[in-house]
Symmetry: C2
Subunit: 598 residues, 2 copies
């Protein structure tokens, strides 16, 4: 508490020195990733809030943190209320950040930001919303005031073999240039480490959960310029890269490189993925800038459409992951049968990782696992760590949401298990979540259909009971890359990106009954071609995930004949796929779990 | 044919005199309505194409007509191919109008438009797309060249009583000003006759099918200025209007009025509903303009949400209309049983009108009726008139889409009847269209949900069979006003308008098997409150239409238990509602038609 007071005071001195009336501290790093190194957790250091999403604003006399409904409880617990006010986003009456600042600072004030932490697009929007206040681009204040700040660390990187990635960088470059179709000379700027990892076929361990190399890149029609830590690649690897049109430079040289690059080359980037600082560097020589109009940029757009090698890799990853889930579920049942009094959420969260690690090709978790029993399941982004031991005891749901990276694919699966006796409402809610998940799985749709058109297939089953989930139904999933990946999504909110064959996406409707229980069932699905006829080309989904679904809570009449048929086929299919990878005992267990219901 | 050549030559002289290289002729009138008086059918006069949607472009040497898939066949038949090229909209390879013009005229040319026929919004978009060509605002060329052009006709108008409209103009004005919430003095400009009819509680017969008065209007915080034909209202009616804050002026005075209006008043309008000409008049004195950001404008937005008196009126209209449909269906069956060889589409199209006219309060058709047998049903906007007698003979579907105006409400209903024996594919398609219609009818959704989120409930059943319909699923419906009304819709395309209780909308999935048959089943539904709980406020639909649905083609297994239950309840409900308005014989017939299936 005292610490935070001192830290805020230090930042306020910086504000004064820089003549800014307010300072905005987001949750991101220089590459706009979802996970960040400790070095960039300035917001957490300053106010104590550890959630992954939250923006802090500090003025001379006040400080306030904006976060969304996932984190209201956590923020209330972690924030020193006397120093930092909690602003509940998307709740009636909560002012927007610009509106709040306008009410707090005097006319003519400047609002400070670190231009490495705001995209050009965010900066434009913010400037418009803050008007007539002006935005001032300052240095990173935490350089000075955060004395024991952890440094940025760079680890050894690896090259992704074409046998798992399916396409070399040279071919990817060619494809991107074709899609861009820009006649003049241009240099395309990439700041997102996952776009760079895909383009250059590199992977790393610089970022928690995301197998990324902290890097910048740029490409012209001729080659790719990669800026990473000098020690990340061996000489041999450097030459492999060079053979695939990737030239390696030192990470720190990027700003000077982009400043000094031939100014006859147009600079191109998606404005939501280039920082204000890099943007300003890029055009400082007077070069023209062209904003890539494709949502998320052409690289992300191409990355989202998995090639056949990547798709086969996903299928393989799902096999290994399915086996791990079977062993995990058997473990839970056996422990519960023993009457294990010490079975906790945290223990289970570690257990699934240990089971996966029995496979030699397992690389690690694709996100921090969620294991939530009873009322904890009602917090969509609950963490089983650091709450003291929460036992799996009594009658309720156990919600487990975990994922893994393999060199050939990434998984993301949620299952909700019935523990003990359930109420009628719990059985109904479970059935509706499952029904929604299945409805979306069965969709068949014409080419050009957007995720937003399909969202209600899953959401509608839940809202038929007067309940909702406030998150999206589906997010894109990377291939041994980020578990949350754009540009496609299946959400209520409009997203103009049509679903295309090869896009991998989650399917995860849910119900969160606050203070009581949570239910989420999540499969990974892939868009693929179905038929082509006089009406056009139609797509459907292939369910990639191979993990049995608990049928004990299902209300068969409510689920309905069509969904039951889907569920039975799914269970038959996954039994067939997994059984040969299981021992006799596991196989028998799975044959019971995948029994048809009717 | 020769006529058209001469007419095009006359227009080309106008082009030359006005130094424009191309001229664009849309399908609309000065008020951007869906139906227009003959006076405004310049495009038809010029090229022969009678469809309701189509844009003609004429250059020195060429002429081309852009229309959508509904009209490809018709346009091919009606256009003199040698003189006017058919451009198929939304078909790969068809250039956009601006792109085509750019390829046809020399650099530096002007492109002429009649500024009364383009909205300010359309003009802005067009100007951007035509760049570097410039748009030139000319006079109406048809004033000169169309010698026997029918004049604009103005008929007697009527006042809508508060007992059917539910809200007087004074209260509507107050509501609009509250919604607009503009501090400064303003004058809001209305060019859409349906917005004006709603605001001023007036109805007319100036436009086919739409009960409108050709008029302009404007309102300030104090009063409404209505510009209509001087003879449209009696002195008594004028004084009734004045008592409700509506001041009457002559139609032709509007341009001068808006030019001369106190220039301290900001001009306000939705830019898609004010013509370039009126916009230019409005700001010619130097007054500021504020574009109403609400989709369709605040008046349309308020008009779309029906009040309780209007809703009761809709329910009453559906009763009367349901009775007419029962008598109509009985008539068809009896004629077919007689083996009537002379039962034609046209005869049936007239018959439904005659039956409705037996009710003293029937005002007329809300659109031109569609009665389509067999392959004709595959044309979504088919007209049974002027094709020669098409007999209802053989095995296929008979598709009937008709609607009526009553003083208290407007109807729009489609039913598809099985005639003779159907194929397996026809039965499946019929069942899927019905299933889609029912899926949407059963939706329950959280406040804030947009129509685009719900569209796939109806569309998905159809696309599950690898078929599509290319039109929207639902359009708003006016209250004794236009049968197609915004701003809400249920379509694949994004529309940011959320559905609100009181909004009335159609629900009309379909399948069109070209050259073979068409199926469409359309009910009118209304959004209303369902429940409010800790998750928020939920809405559902009330089905307003009370017309039995042919159950003979239904494949029960494919329809599914939930939809069967809905259908049975619907039939029970409508039997209960309609039976007391029927005679003994009709009642018995209806009891058979509404028998539960299972």
């Amino acid at each position: 508490m005292k610490n935070i007071k001192e830290r805020l005071t230090a930042l306020r001195s910086f504000l004064k020195e820089n003549s800014v009336g307010a300072f905005i501290i987001p949750s991101t790093d220089h590459h706009f990733g979802e996970y960040i190194q400790k070095h960039f957790s300035c917001r957490e250091w300053l106010c104590g809030f550890t959630g992954s999403a939250g923006t802090l604003v500090v003025t001379e006399h006040k400080a306030a943190l904006w976060t969304d409904s996932r984190y209201f409880v956590q923020a209330r617990q972690e924030l020193p209320g006397s120093e930092v006010e909690l602003m509940k986003m998307r709740i009636a009456g909560t002012p927007s950040i610009p509106d709040w600042i306008k009410g707090e600072v005097s006319a003519g004030s400047f609002v400070g930001i670190d231009p490495m932490l705001f995209s050009k697009g965010e900066f434009e929007t913010l400037s418009g919303e803050l008007y007539p206040l002006k935005v001032k681009l300052t240095d990173d204040p935490f350089k000075e005031i955060w004395r024991d700040r952890p440094p940025v660390t760079f680890n050894k990187a690896t090259l992704e073999d074409i046998s798992v990635g399916g396409c070399d960088s040279k071919s990817k470059l060619k494809l991107l240039c074709q899609k861009l179709n820009i006649e003049k000379d241009f240099i395309y700027i990439l700041c997102s480490c996952d776009d760079i990892a895909w383009l250059c076929n590199i992977r790393g361990t610089d970022i928690p959960f995301n197998p990324l190399v902290i890097s910048y890149a740029a490409f012209t029609k001729e080659k790719i310029y990669l800026f990473a830590c000098a020690e990340a690649f061996s000489k041999d690897e450097e030459s492999v890269l060079r053979n695939s049109s990737v030239e390696l430079y030192n990470y720190s040289e990027f700003p000077e490189f982009i400043k000094g690059f031939n100014q006859d080359y147009i600079r191109v980037a998606p404005i939501d993925k280039i920082s204000v600082k890099i943007f300003n560097d890029a055009v400082s020589s007077g070069a023209a800038f062209f904003s890539d109009p494709v949502r998320g940029g052409v690289t992300a757009s191409q990355k989202a459409v998995k090639n056949s090698v990547e798709i086969d890799g996903f299928r393989k990853a799902m096999l290994y992951d399915g086996v791990a889930w079977v062993k995990f579920w058997i473990y839970i049942e056996e422990e519960l049968q023993k009457g294990a009094q010490n079975l906790t959420e945290e223990l289970l969260a570690k257990k699934i990782g240990e089971i996966r690690a029995q496979h030699s090709e397992y690389k690690g978790e694709s996100f921090s696992p969620i294991v939530a029993f009873g009322e904890n399941g009602a917090l969509p982004h609950y963490s089983p760590f650091g709450n003291g031991p929460v036992k799996i005891l009594g009658d309720s749901f156990l919600l487990v949401d975990t994922g893994a990276h393999y060199p050939f694919g990434t998984t993301d699966t949620t299952r909700t298990f019935a523990i003990g006796n359930l109420t009628q409402e719990q059985r109904r809610d479970y059935t509706l979540v499952l029904k929604g998940m299945i409805n979306l799985s069965m969709a068949r749709f014409i080419k050009g259909t957007r995720g937003a058109s399909l969202d209600f297939l899953a959401r509608g089953a839940v809202s038929s009971a007067g309940k909702i989930y406030t998150h999206g139904t589906g997010h894109g999933i990377g291939h041994n890359l980020c578990v949350h990946e754009g540009p496609q999504s299946i959400r209520m909110e409009e997203n103009p990106v049509p679903l295309e064959p090869g896009m991998v996406i989650s399917n995860e409707p849910a119900i969160y009954e606050e203070g009581s229980y949570g239910i989420r069932i999540e499969n990974t699905i892939m868009c693929k071609k179905w038929v082509e006829n006089r009406y056009g080309e139609f797509y459907e989904f292939e369910t990639l995930t191979l993990v049995p679904i608990d049928t004990t809570p299902v209300d068969k009449q409510l689920l309905g004949a069509e969904a039951i048929q889907w569920l039975n086929s799914y269970h038959s299919y996954l039994y067939e796929k997994l059984s040969e990878l299981l021992n006799q005992r596991e196989r028998e267990w799975l044959s019971v779990k995948t029994l048809h219901i009717d």
